[in-house]
């Protein structure tokens, strides 16, 4: 069988989702953002919500998310995405509203908005990309930076006495009464990507059923900020991030009435 015989439209098993447009993404080579964008686009397509989805893009590396996925978007001020999403969902309850935020946006500047939106039980989904660093501005220390991790602003490693402890936003969200589904996933391997896709789909469906707010944390890599190759960054994440940010569902009220 020749290559030409295999490459026929009827044999196509995987391609870039059509919602993800042809605009080249500005992310660094190997960045986890691209995979998560792809998953979001695939899930929206599978749910048939192309015309009824509103994303809220953050400030951070994902600030241009609106350029890549062909749905409605609203850009929010730094950290204020959950507040904007609250308004959108309340005014248009038939829409699927989600925010897409990094750790600097959601866990630092927007901590207040995030906690209160989740605690009010707004029917929104927060997708939280946790790469333990401020990627866009050049790799400074974030609230989620691990103890001992070296960044541009803590070149000798994060010191608890000086910088405090890393913040586990997902654990906090799981304790709030308004949240329905809180989970931590990652996108470094095929298996993990499939699991993350299922989690995003479940969160989107629950928000449309009006069950409360959902938080999907994606433990991600920032190979440029960590000064590693994409491959080494995945290994570093496996060795260092997962023990502190364990994967899995933290709260699942989907079956409760």
């Amino acid at each position: 069988m020749t290559r030409e015989e295999i490459i026929q439209p009827e044999n196509l098993v995987y391609k870039k989702p059509t919602l993800l447009n042809d605009e080249p993404m500005h992310y660094c080579p190997g960045c986890s953002h691209g995979v998560v964008h792809k998953l979001v686009a695939e899930v929206i397509e599978e749910m048939g919500m192309e015309e009824k989805t509103i994303g809220v893009s953050p400030v951070g590396c994902a600030v241009f998310a609106y350029k890549y996925i062909d749905i409605d978007w609203q850009e929010a001020a730094h950290g204020r995405a959950p507040a904007v999403a609250t308004a959108l969902k309340r005014l248009m309850p038939d829409r699927l509203v989600f925010t897409y935020q990094g750790d600097g946006d959601m866990a630092c500047i927007g901590t207040g908005e995030t906690i209160h939106a989740l605690n009010r039980g707004e029917n929104i989904v927060i997708i939280f990309i946790n790469n333990a660093i401020y990627g866009m501005t050049g790799g400074q220390m974030a609230p989620t930076t691990l103890i001992g991790q070296k960044t541009a602003t803590c070149p000798y490693g994060r010191d608890v006495k000086l910088h405090g402890y890393p913040l586990k936003m997902t654990e906090i969200a799981a304790t709030l009464a308004g949240t329905c589904y809180v989970t931590r996933q990652t996108v470094y391997s095929v298996g993990a990507i499939n699991k993350a896709k299922k989690a995003i789909k479940k969160a989107f469906q629950l928000s449309m059923e009006g069950k409360g707010s959902s938080l999907v944390e994606i433990v991600s890599t920032c190979n440029s900020g960590w000064k590693l190759t994409p491959e080494k960054a995945n290994q570093w994440m496996e060795e260092n991030m997962f023990p502190f940010y364990p994967l899995g569902d933290l709260k699942d009220n989907s079956t409760k009435e």
Binding site: I6, Y14, K16, P17, P29, E231, N234
Partner: protein, 76 residues
């Protein structure tokens, strides 16, 4: 067991040469170019082992930029 033959098509100008597909491929079908670069100056992924791919799509699933399309056909 049914046997499958696969083929990958890489959008070479979208590829950023991150090497993640090369690592993800269980059959080591893909590799980055060593001499050529694309329009943006990145090395890009290409098929180096002909007739080996079984169309499992691992490379395409892990590709952060969605550059890879995978085709799969059952061998009669």
């Amino acid at each position: 067991m049914a046997k499958f033959k696969g083929a990958t098509v890489v959008d070479t100008n979208r590829c950023k040469g991150c090497n993640l597909c090369v690592v993800a491929c269980p059959l080591h079908v893909l590799a980055l170019t060593t001499k050529n670069v694309n329009a943006k100056g990145y090395p890009y992924a290409q098929t180096v082992l002909e007739d080996t791919c079984n169309g499992c799509s691992s490379c395409a699933i892990v590709c952060p930029d969605g550059c890879i399309s995978v085709y799969r056909k059952k061998v009669e």
